[in-house]
């Protein structure tokens, strides 16, 4: 019971800071789940990250899988609830607050400032997670190739995931 409670509380606290999206704060989640709470090890984290990326749906699925690892289906549901409720409530009020703002200049200012911060956080997050989950030169080349292709073409991400998976099965990564 206590591990379920700790799962719920720790992930709720994480959600409170992660209202900009889980992907911007993956390193924080990594630290929490692997180093602080020892819910999972590094390899399992990167495997769950991969499964969450390949599965359809919102980007907090890594958290769902961590919950499942800790306490089965109940853990998965509780972890998902924990990751969703604080940030959802914050976004709900934040959105109403911004929509009520009369001065369009202040509105724009907040949006521009938040966007720049979010970009910095997302890029840092990708960088730090790459250091944890990529173990070979080929993996880094695949990551950089993915970035290049998504910026230069309109390919659907699923194609890239399929290509990455195939390269992995063939033993290149």
């Amino acid at each position: 019971m206590s591990i379920l409670l700790s799962l719920f509380l720790k992930l709720s606290a994480f959600s409170l800071v992660a209202f900009g999206g889980v992907n911007a704060l993956l390193p924080v989640l990594f630290n929490l789940a692997v180093h602080q709470e020892h819910w999972i090890d590094v390899q399992t984290f990167s495997d769950y990250f991969a499964i969450a990326q390949a599965a359809p749906g919102p980007n907090f699925m890594t958290v769902t899988l961590i919950g499942w690892h800790v306490y089965g289906v109940l853990g998965a549901l509780l972890a998902t609830l924990a990751i969703a409720w604080p940030s959802s409530i914050m976004i709900y009020f934040l959105q109403r607050f911004i929509m009520r703002m009369k001065n369009p200049l202040s509105k724009q200012t907040i949006q521009y400032a938040a966007a720049a911060l979010a970009i910095g956080l997302v890029l840092s997050s990708a960088f730090e997670i790459a250091l944890q989950i990529n173990h070979s030169l080929a993996a880094y080349i695949l990551t950089i190739g993915t970035i290049a292709i998504t910026l230069l073409t309109r390919w659907h991400p699923l194609y890239l995931i399929a290509i990455g998976g195939a390269l992995g099965v063939l033993g290149f990564i």
Binding site: D47, F49, A50, S124, A126, I147, G168
Partner: protein
């Protein structure tokens, strides 16, 4: 998810937000748990390990490219790149916690964002 809250709340207030979130997440949760069961049975296979290594390398690239795509807007007022760079340095070089990163960068971000809003 945040989008579901925003759109749901516009159509049906708090209830709409709740309905949109639940509707968006229950199906994917079921699917991802099926995948987790498969993983539990087959994760010892070399090919499955390789598969996941390949997908995670692509996945981290996809996350980075969401950042790069958002960056396009910053070209309209390049001083904002300073905010992006400062955030990254604080987070990756100095390994500051999220709270400190935001406290440190937010004043500069708001200052430059105000100038950007006035300029455009």
């Amino acid at each position: 998810m945040n989008l579901a809250v925003c759109i749901g709340s516009r159509f049906g207030g708090a209830r709409g937000a709740l309905a949109a979130t639940l509707g968006l997440s229950l199906g994917p949760i079921a699917i991802v748990l099926c995948l987790a069961l498969l993983y539990e049975h087959y994760s010892y296979l070399e090919s499955v390990k390789g598969l996941l290594r390949g997908i995670s390398a692509v996945g981290v690239g996809l996350i980075a490219s969401t950042g790069f795509k958002m960056m396009r807007d910053e070209f309209r007022y390049p001083a904002m790149f300073l905010v992006v760079a400062l955030t990254m340095i604080a987070a990756t070089v100095f390994h500051l916690g999220l709270g400190y990163v935001v406290l440190l960068v937010a004043p500069i971000a708001v200052f430059l964002a105000r100038k950007k809003a006035q300029a455009l």
